[in-house]
């Protein structure tokens, strides 16, 4: 039976465990960020934000440096560009994301070497070292603490941006922080899911939770639980049955099955 260790680059067994822990942390961050992205009606927009990593991945592959460093640079740069353009033009966040996404995808496809393109799109980079794991833990902690800190401002803004501003919430700053936290979450999962599936685990568990939740706390809790369940089951299925070089696609398929199950339960 094929195991991920046999397929992934870097066959250190310990690193495989690091990789799994990192995937669980990604699941937690994705469930949390996803629930607010869903409520902020940024689901489709969120999907394309993950593609912003592509040009950075392409440059990193070209220069033979860590692809995650390149992905991080273009993700954060893209997120900031989206935010800045929205403030400058006054147009919707969605349209700005669409514009930056189209440029990023075209640029990424043009500069990523053909042999690395599939890896950039679907994940499966080298397994993390101890330092990689620690950076992942730090990133996940920043996402969790950041969302918890922004939570009340986002809830007020979701209800009414005018009311939120009148209460003293800085909506522009909150939008920027959320975009950066979203990008950081995509970055944590980039090695598993690549640029193409990066946001799937952010979106699908949140959509599942919406079928079942009755308030914000239960929405966030269910979203995180579904995300962690999808990663655990997807990882296991990939190890035992699929044997793909990256567990990302299996994880996304499991999360889609969980979403389908939530539809049955609701109706």
């Amino acid at each position: 039976m094929a195991t991920p260790q046999a397929h992934l680059k870097g066959n250190d067994g310990l690193n495989h465990y690091y990789s799994f822990i990192l995937a669980l942390l990604f699941a937690l961050a994705a469930g949390l960020v996803g629930s607010f992205a869903f409520m902020k009606r940024m689901v489709l927009a969120s999907d394309v934000i993950s593609h912003l990593a592509l040009p950075g991945l392409g440059v990193a592959f070209l220069l033979h440096v860590n692809p995650l460093a390149g992905g991080a640079a273009s993700l954060f740069l893209g997120a900031f560009l989206i935010w800045w353009l929205q403030g400058r033009t006054g147009l919707s966040l969605d349209s700005m994301i669409g514009i930056v996404f189209a440029c990023a995808l075209a640029l990424g496809a043009a500069i990523t070497p053909n042999e690395d393109l599939l890896e950039a799109l679907l994940g499966g980079f080298q397994q993390p070292s101890l330092l990689g794991l620690l950076l992942g833990v730090l990133a996940a902690a920043i996402v969790v603490m950041g969302i918890l800190r922004l939570k009340d401002q986002m809830i007020l803004g979701l209800f009414s941006s005018d009311l939120a501003i009148a209460t003293g919430v800085n909506i522009r700053r909150e939008d920027l922080f959320f975009l950066l936290l979203f990008s950081l979450t995509v970055l944590i999962g980039l090695r598993f899911t690549g640029a193409l599936l990066g946001s799937a685990l952010i979106i699908v568990p949140a959509a599942t939770a919406r079928q079942l939740a009755t308030n914000v706390a239960s929405f966030v809790t269910i979203s995180c639980s579904v995300s962690i369940l999808a990663v655990s089951v997807g990882w296991l299925c990939n190890s035992l049955f699929v044997g793909a070089s990256t567990p990302g696609p299996t994880i996304v398929i499991v999360s889609a099955i969980l979403f389908a199950s939530s539809l049955l339960k609701r109706h």
């Binding site: 409520m39 809830i155 979701l158 009414s160 009311l163 009148a166 009755t214 308030n215 914000v216």
Partner: protein, 242 residues
């Protein structure tokens, strides 16, 4: 008494369309200012400018002691959101770093039933939704309330209760109120100053002095339906049909 709010040369434009131009007025602590005018005269825009929600020219100066509660005319909230009334009130309480009891106190004061706290925002009636907005505005004990047609689309009984609450609270707490209303009987009953906005005329003063039938006709470009019945001396409920 010092002004709580001082507005000088206020102007608001959207592109080439001038909505408010060269507007000057002051509001003293404890005043009730009613803003009236025909549709499109800039009443809601004025409130938004006072709150800094739209860009403007001129100056809007609030006293340092002001704590504002705002009840908007419309809420664009997605009623499909998994947001309960408790989620909303808790979010504002936490953001303002209020104590645990403040939320319950605000609900009690505006008559919002505790049973309603766990209801989703999409599952409550228009009247209940309006009470939620008022409770949300009242949270944090504001000394100034900005009401933008707070009773639009509500039945008369609910409207009456809301204005009674507002009037009682204002008397007890020396609350300052800036109120947008289409209902002239409300203006006569509760406001001590009225600000009339229209494209060609701006006027301000006590309702009995300012709201003449001629002015109302100019404002609304139609024969006035209500005017103040001055002889008799009772301002409340004395409007009558011509």
């Amino acid at each position: 008494m010092n002004s709580l709010l001082s507005v000088e040369n206020l102007g608001v434009s959207f592109g080439n369309r001038v909505v408010i131009e060269n507007l000057n007025f002051q509001v003293k602590s404890g005043d009730t200012l009613a803003v009236i005018g025909p549709n499109g005269s800039g009443k809601t825009v004025l409130l938004k400018a006072l709150l800094g929600l739209v860009p403007y020219t001129g100056s809007v100066r609030w006293s340092d002691t002001v704590r504002i509660g705002y009840v908007p005319q419309k809420i664009e909230a997605d009623r499909q959101l998994p947001l309960t009334i408790r989620d909303l009130l808790t979010a504002k309480s936490r953001f303002l770093k209020l104590g645990a009891n403040d939320m319950e106190a605000a609900c009690r004061e505006v008559g919002l039933s505790f049973d309603l706290l766990n209801a989703a925002i999409g599952a409550i009636s228009g009247g209940q939704f309006q009470k939620v907005l008022i409770a949300l505005a009242w949270l944090g004990s504001p000394n100034t309330l900005l009401f933008d047609e707070p009773t639009a689309s509500l039945d008369e009984l609910t409207e009456e209760r809301i204005y009674d609450w507002l009037h009682t609270t204002q008397t007890q707490r020396s609350l300052t109120v800036v109120l947008v209303s289409h209902d002239l009987s409300v203006v006569y009953r509760y406001a001590n100053t009225v600000l009339c906005l229209s494209r060609n005329k701006i006027c301000i003063g006590p309702p009995r002095e300012v709201l003449s039938p001629q002015l109302l006709e100019e404002l609304y470009s139609a024969p006035p339906m209500y005017y103040q019945h001055i002889h008799g001396g009772n301002a409340a409920g004395t409007s009558e049909r011509e």
